[in-house]
């Protein structure tokens, strides 16, 4: 069974040890948009009014990412500081894909990234983006993203064919991604 999570849903999720203690709350999910993987989480303290927690949670230390909690083995799974997270956020496009404009190589704006869709069966993978209304189409679509050409804090450049493989909901993304992959292979 495939389950889809949105990056916005993951932020605010509690970080819970296998012993049942909540040690933090997810603040932001940090992505590597070029690889489509999650690299780490930035954290805030427990409780809704708690401030940022200066400790990062690296993806490799995560036991499981679920719809209701991020599970870790124990508190030592957290990094001592947030150095690691900061490095990754400062990498090109790191952390801040939400709000970036999606542009094809040919210069057509497809919209703005509203949310990141993550598939969580097995190793979580970014399978696409929820993209808000572009100037012309005026509706929210889901774009499969395989191999973006380049990413910066403000823009993500994707192959032109991406525009032909949008999906109406997250469940349609794998099929859309498969179609896009074939097209890109043909073009290559």
């Amino acid at each position: 069974m495939s389950t889809y999570l949105r990056a916005r849903e993951i932020s605010q999720e509690p970080v819970v040890t296998l012993a049942g203690e909540d040690v933090a709350r997810v603040k932001d999910v940090v992505f590597d948009p070029m690889r489509g993987s999650i690299t780490c989480f930035t954290l805030s303290g427990r409780g809704l009014l708690a401030g940022p927690l200066k400790r990062a949670l690296l993806w490799k230390k995560v036991h499981a990412l679920g719809p209701d909690a991020v599970m870790i083995r124990d508190e030592s799974s957290l990094e001592e500081d947030d150095e690691a997270a900061r490095e990754r956020i400062e990498a090109p496009g790191g952390g801040s894909v939400i709000g970036a404009r999606v542009m094809t190589e040919e210069g057509t704006a497809l919209g703005t990234v509203n949310d990141v869709i993550i598939e969580t069966s097995g190793t979580p993978k970014v399978i696409g983006y929820e993209v808000g209304p572009a100037t012309r189409t005026d509706r929210t679509v889901f774009l499969p993203v395989i191999k973006p050409k380049s990413v910066s804090g403000e823009m993500m450049v994707v192959p032109a064919a991406t525009a032909d493989f949008t999906a109406g909901d997250p469940a349609g993304l794998p099929a859309a991604a498969e179609g896009l992959r074939r097209r890109l292979e043909q073009e290559a």
Binding site: E13, P14, V16, T17, L18, A19, G20, E21, D22, H63, A64, L65, G66, P67, D68, A69, V70, M71
Partner: protein, 146 residues
């Protein structure tokens, strides 16, 4: 036996034939899953805890222990100890180790002879006791069903 039927049962010290209090709550520990301690409502403002190993017999009308020496005031417990009330499962949310919510613990089914946990009874069904991974202040963590 369901813990809800054990709640309120009198605890008696055999050496002095004294009523020490009544059972109010319990704590669980994993591997193997068992009741690690019983929390007693006693006279006075604070409750007492008793490790399961002090239980002599879990009878129909009363629970017997050898002497009152096995009792410890609840407030003297460190939060790192197994018997600390943060390990009380009742009313707590259940999470699978993959981070999925599985309801709230309503009751537990245990073996009154050795304190082993048979099952957690949750708002979403029964979870076999051997799936218990940990009970913390936030949640009861269980292994995912096969």
């Amino acid at each position: 036996m369901l813990f809800s039927t054990a709640q309120g049962r009198t605890v008696i010290a055999l050496s002095t034939a004294e009523r020490l209090g009544t059972i109010a709550a319990c704590t669980l520990a994993p591997s193997p899953a068992h009741i690690s301690s019983l929390h007693l409502r006693t006279r006075g403002r604070h409750g007492h805890i008793m490790l399961w190993k002090n239980v002599q017999s879990f009878g129909e009308d009363a629970v017997t222990i050898r002497s009152a020496e096995g009792l410890k005031p609840e407030k003297e417990l460190e939060s790192t100890e197994e018997a600390h009330k943060s390990h009380d499962p009742l009313g707590k949310r259940v999470l699978t180790e993959s981070g999925e919510s599985m309801g709230i613990v309503e009751d537990i089914d245990f073996d009154e002879k050795d304190g082993s946990l048979r099952a957690l009874l949750t708002t979403e069904g029964k979870v076999p006791g051997d799936r218990l991974m940990g009970v913390g202040s936030y949640a009861v963590v269980v292994q995912r069903p096969e």
